[in-house]
Symmetry: C2
């Protein structure tokens, strides 16, 4: 099984080193090959997603991705900026299904902004469509405004769009996930859109409703995106699976992640139709703390576990990693982002080593 290791920028290399330690400790037939991506790749070869990196990703069974982005690259033209590597990989590999769990680990409940009773035991899954919507819709660009009170003025524009088969396949992912999370039957899917305003959302809502006929055991509810942003704050535990488009999913998955109070713990998976996937922590590249050895590697380590489960068909190995992470938390080890009175503050490498030890 071939795995492309793309560490990226900021804390990316540090957290990736720990995830690699953990993968090696599993003693599975994994072939790891590393390549630069993001700002690091731009610095080395003039492009955030060099051909060789893309080729490596294409032929791998799965990609383990660190994080990209650094203030150093903020002034580059957009097509050379680090985040173009993420968009490019999603598009090139057809990674249409982004799974983002928002889980509040029991020993970390206090770290949330929310009152403990609202987040204790939180375990929801955001399913975000990742290759469509306004992210890639054409036409887009600049033009003189074609009409309205400011006709002729300089205008920026983008196209939001979804086609029926795109909505169908992501809806299926969400309904299947609801079943899987609930012992094979049942569960709830909340489909989030803005159907009171957008044509794209009207199609979205129609198609999700149709696909639901194949999943009568799963409850389906529809919610407007503004209301979803509120309900996540008010009562996050009322959700089970949320399914939504690329743009709304970008916003809501980050809001949900932050609600848990420990975004340094949250992995994510982005899958294509062949089960190939890219796995990355939900947090960013945190250039402000890069190189200090204090970043939390657990989200990346848990992303490696998702990789084993979703792309490499080794749920047993995934569970071993997850158990090991639970154990180091139970032992009281904490990187600074999740530290609290009465626990033991450790650095990035010490945390990685502890997970390796717990695996044995």
């Amino acid at each position: 099984m071939k795995i492309a290791i793309l560490p990226g920028d900021g804390i990316g290399p540090e957290i990736m080193a720990e995830a690699v330690k953990v993968l090696n400790a599993l003693e599975l037939p994994l072939e790891l090959a590393s390549a630069p991506v993001g700002g690091a790749a731009y610095a080395a070869s003039g492009h955030p997603l060099p051909e060789a990196t893309l080729a490596l990703a294409r032929e791998a069974d799965a990609v383990l991705f660190g994080a990209v982005g650094d203030w150093k690259y903020d002034q580059l033209p957009r097509h050379l900026r680090p985040e173009q590597a993420i968009l490019g990989l999603r598009q090139a590999l057809g990674l249409f299904a982004n799974l983002r769990p928002a889980i509040c680990h029991a020993p970390l409940t206090h770290a949330s902004s929310l009152k403990p009773e609202l987040v204790a035991g939180l375990d929801i899954l955001i399913v975000r469509e990742l290759t469509g919507d306004i992210y890639f819709g054409q036409p887009r660009g600049r033009r003189p405004a074609p009409d309205g009170a400011f006709a002729g003025a300089d205008e920026g524009f983008d196209t939001m769009r979804y086609s029926r088969p795109e909505v169908e396949r992501i809806a299926r992912v969400a309904f299947e996930a609801a079943r899987r999370r609930n012992g094979g039957r049942g569960g709830k899917v909340t489909s989030v859109d803005k159907a009171n305003v957008l044509e794209t959302s009207q199609l979205w809502r129609e198609v999700v409703t149709e696909v639901h006929r194949d999943y009568p055991d799963v409850t389906l509810e529809h919610m407007y995106v503004d209301n979803a942003a509120m309900q996540l704050v008010k009562a996050p535990k009322n959700f089970d699976v949320i399914v939504t488009g690329n743009l709304f999913g970008d916003i809501l998955s980050d809001e949900a992640a932050m609600l848990t109070g420990s975004i340094g713990m949250l992995p994510s998976a982005s899958l294509n139709e062949r089960g190939q996937g890219l796995f990355e922590p939900s947090h960013g590249s945190a250039p402000d703390i890069a190189g200090q050895g204090i970043a939390n590697p657990l989200a990346t380590i848990l992303s490696a576990a998702m990789m084993l489960r979703y792309s490499l068909q080794r749920p047993d190995a995934a569970a071993r990693i997850e158990d090991a992470v639970r154990q180091v938390l139970a032992e009281g080890l904490r990187t600074p982002d999740i530290f609290s009175e009465g626990t033991r503050r450790v650095g990035t490498a010490e945390m990685g080593n502890a997970v390796v030890r717990a695996l044995k």
Copy 2:
């Protein structure tokens, strides 16, 4: 001074009745004229925004709006649904600037989902552009997908767009508001966009940066919308004024309102270039509790205060209402939505009467 009173649906008529009591108690030369809107207007005359209602709004100095929407009307075709009245009024009156304060009133801090220290004293202002963006952009509709892997499939699409003058005028509103909130100089504006992905956002960011040259005393920061959704949860008090487009503003203003824990207290103003405005509570029509006399009228009463300040040039009268609301809260009066141990539970009318009494 002519005021159009549009009560609407659900709890709209009940909360509006209390605001009207308060306005009458001011003994100002106000001429109030009422008209149906939303589902109530559809039921009476077949359209959510009848010609007569629109005409009344046009000739008024200000519109006081209750709320619209009810499950009864969910099956209507979109152009007849209650919320079309709001979109129609915004468009017809050119109400481009939506001001939504998110304030945590001291005695209600405990009602928030967030830990008290994160929201105590919260006072931020969201400035949302209200007549542009993907809400009204053309073209929009259904078509066979023009390209991509699913070319030819049924597709829904919308156009996001902003022109330079539209961004300029809303940016000015935000910078002016920052100064006003900070004693005439200074303050901070956070401009929220998705410039790493959207062309519309790139123009937005350029123009806001340009307009900022006229406000060197105000700090400007740019933030991606996904990050803004997180930072609002993590540290809402780090914001002062947020300025953003129609779609992102819809989501973030509701998220921010819910953070305060007392959305039943939050007014809003929607202004045009002539200072004419529509004023409405930030909460919805709550059909589930309509007719029970338990809805909180304070957001509507505080919307009337905003109306006096922004459209009727009577800041003195606005302050009187705001003081009266503070006083009834200090006296411990609470509608059920903000009730807690040790306070006195009152109904809609009793709350309105208490505000009137406190005015004297």
